[in-house]
């Protein structure tokens, strides 16, 4: 696998082309805007929390294949999870993307496809943007920035 195939794995290309949960949400209980001032990527994350669980989650915005597929993978993975599980997963994924840990837990499933980004320092923020934005929204914040 060459370095581009390593970064842009099939799963990523698929989620980029057909992003899941890619829409606004009228009845979201939590919502935040994420912004990467370096490249202008913008994302909005919508979450509907019911009984301590993520009943629904979606996103919309503009971004590169990495940021879009990361957001799409995130929404696919977290739907139905409890808030504690979601926050824990955010921590694990961000640690993986930023190279704070080498281990990639099996539980990450498809999200592990994002690991190639670690070899591309300029692109790590593209991959973490949606996760930071989700964390911000769950903490009651309104905006997240990668800077």
């Amino acid at each position: 696998m060459n370095e581009m195939e390593e970064l842009y794995r099939e799963i990523i290309l698929d989620h980029n082309k057909r992003p899941r949960n890619f829409h606004a949400m009228e009845d979201a209980t939590h919502h935040a805007d994420g912004h990467n001032p370096l490249c202008g990527d913008e994302i909005e994350v919508f979450v509907k929390v019911e009984g301590g669980k993520i009943a629904d989650i979606s996103f919309q915005g503009e971004g590169c294949a990495i940021s879009k597929s990361s957001a799409s993978l995130m929404t696919s993975a977290l739907k139905g999870k409890t808030l504690d599980e979601a926050k824990r997963e955010c921590g694990i994924v961000v640690a993986m993307l930023t190279g704070k840990t080498d281990s990639i837990p099996d539980e990450l499933g498809d999200i592990a496809a994002l690991q190639g980004v670690r070899q591309f320092p300029a692109r790590i923020k593209c991959a973490t943007l949606s996760w930071h934005t989700l964390e911000e929204s769950l903490q009651g914040g309104k905006t997240a920035s990668t800077e």
């Binding site: 842009y8 290309l13 202008g40 971004g63």
Partner: protein, 412 residues
């Protein structure tokens, strides 16, 4: 070697740039197509910096000792070179600043701010770089004066008629780029200046992207202010030029206070030096000025017209080679545009293009290029931008085309 049918010898030019030469060797030669962000430096500029520090360095305008005099002479000689480079009447009209951005800030703060009252206005264009937007917004804040923006068409051509209507007798200053850093559009700066002057408005020309590509002639343009950056004309970072007409400069209060800009200081009253010193508070980037002058000398020796012709040939080859690529759209198609080629690829975000090209050792810029209002107007999140300098070759353009074809296949 004749690269483009003229006498211009690009191989010889490349040999003047150690970084280009060194990184062109090896299995994956670097293709540097990001000169609009910053140009690489010829050896002669790097040597001018190191020679100055190793042989002639001291602080300027202060010491009675010979070394201070030597440094002062070098600094003032650099000012004379800058004068010649932009064709100003006198060296005192050339103020050394950190970069074009600082030049705009100086004018916004020292010239414009005090004149901005309710009813007054500043006129900019849609295609401006943030450096020619934000300083004006900062000056306008709380004044009640208005910001007016001249539209462009879908090709990136400025609406000159609209400019004539938006500039009126209440316009304090009209500020516009000479060459757009995204679109490559070359604005009719002389005509725009004449229109603005007819209404009594002053004119600032942002020549940051023009100076690398064409002869700058402030006498011909007639503008009141012009700014450029050293690092975009093959010179050092941290040094730039503000040209301003003497009669305007003389009436402007200092931008910053400090040493080297005063005649006398007491706690009761301080008096300032004349121009240009009044606008150069503190120890300036002396070596930077010397280095920028070396870059200006170098560009003049290669010949601004030769550089322009070489780059025009690269741009037309780029157009020809990239046009057949499916989904590729050139952004900015103004007639006679400079060697800046912005584009989008259908279904591929500019950042992904940038990373992919980087893997092929082709350096371009991707993103909004510090021109977010322009991106909004064009309704795109950003572009990929290949920009050309005097050292680029036709073969490099071909490599870009081949790499882009690969990307299209990958993301198909």
């Amino acid at each position: 070697m004749s690269d483009n049918g003229t006498a211009y010898d690009v191989a010889k030019v490349r040999a003047d740039f150690p970084l280009i030469e060194n990184l062109a060797k090896g299995a994956k030669p670097l293709v540097y197509l990001d000169s609009a962000a910053s140009t690489q430096k010829p050896r002669i500029v790097v040597e001018a910096l190191s020679d100055f520090y190793l042989k002639d360095y001291a602080n300027i305008h202060r010491g009675v000792h010979f070394l201070s005099q030597k440094a002062t002479d070098a600094y003032e000689k650099a000012r004379e070179t800058a004068r010649r480079f932009v064709n100003a009447r006198e060296a005192a009209e050339c103020i050394f600043v950190r970069n074009a951005t600082e030049g705009v800030n100086l004018v916004a703060s020292s010239y414009a701010k005090s004149r901005l009252k309710p009813g007054a206005n500043i006129v900019l264009t849609t295609m401006e770089h943030h450096a020619n937007i934000v300083p004006w917004q900062m000056a306008l804040e709380g004044t009640g004066a208005e910001l007016r923006v001249v539209p462009i068409d879908s090709r990136g051509v400025l609406d000159v008629e609209a400019f004539g209507k938006l500039v009126d007798e209440n316009t304090v200053i009209a500020a516009f780029s000479y060459v757009s850093n995204v679109l490559g559009t070359v604005n009719p700066v002389k005509k725009l200046t004449a229109i603005a002057h007819d209404k009594g408005a002053k004119v600032l020309v942002d020549a940051a992207q023009a100076a690398p590509h064409r002869k700058i002639d402030v006498a011909d343009i007639g503008c009141d202010f012009l700014v450029l950056s050293g690092h975009k004309i093959y010179g050092p970072t941290g040094i730039g030029l503000l040209y301003a007409k003497r009669e305007i400069l003389e009436k402007m209060p200092p931008y910053q206070g400090g040493g080297d800009m005063i005649l006398t200081v007491s706690f009761e009253k301080t008096t300032y030096k004349g121009i240009p010193d009044r606008f150069e508070a503190g120890t300036p980037h002396i070596a930077g000025a010397v280095g920028m002058a070396a870059a200006m000398d170098y560009m003049e020796r290669i010949g601004l017209a030769n550089i322009e012709a070489h780059e025009a040939a690269l741009l037309s080859r780029c157009r020809e080679k990239l046009a057949p690529i499916p989904g590729l759209k050139e952004i900015g198609t103004a007639p006679g545009k400079a060697a800046v080629f912005s584009f989008t690829l259908e279904g591929v975000h500019p950042h992904d293009i940038g990373t992919f090209l980087d893997a092929d050792n082709i350096a371009i810029r991707a993103g909004h290029h510090c021109a977010e209002p322009l991106m909004k107007f064009l309704k795109i999140p950003g572009t990929a931008r290949a920009s050309f300098g005097m050292y680029n070759t036709a073969e490099e353009v071909d490599k870009l085309a081949t790499a882009l074809e690969k990307i299209v296949k990958f993301f198909a």
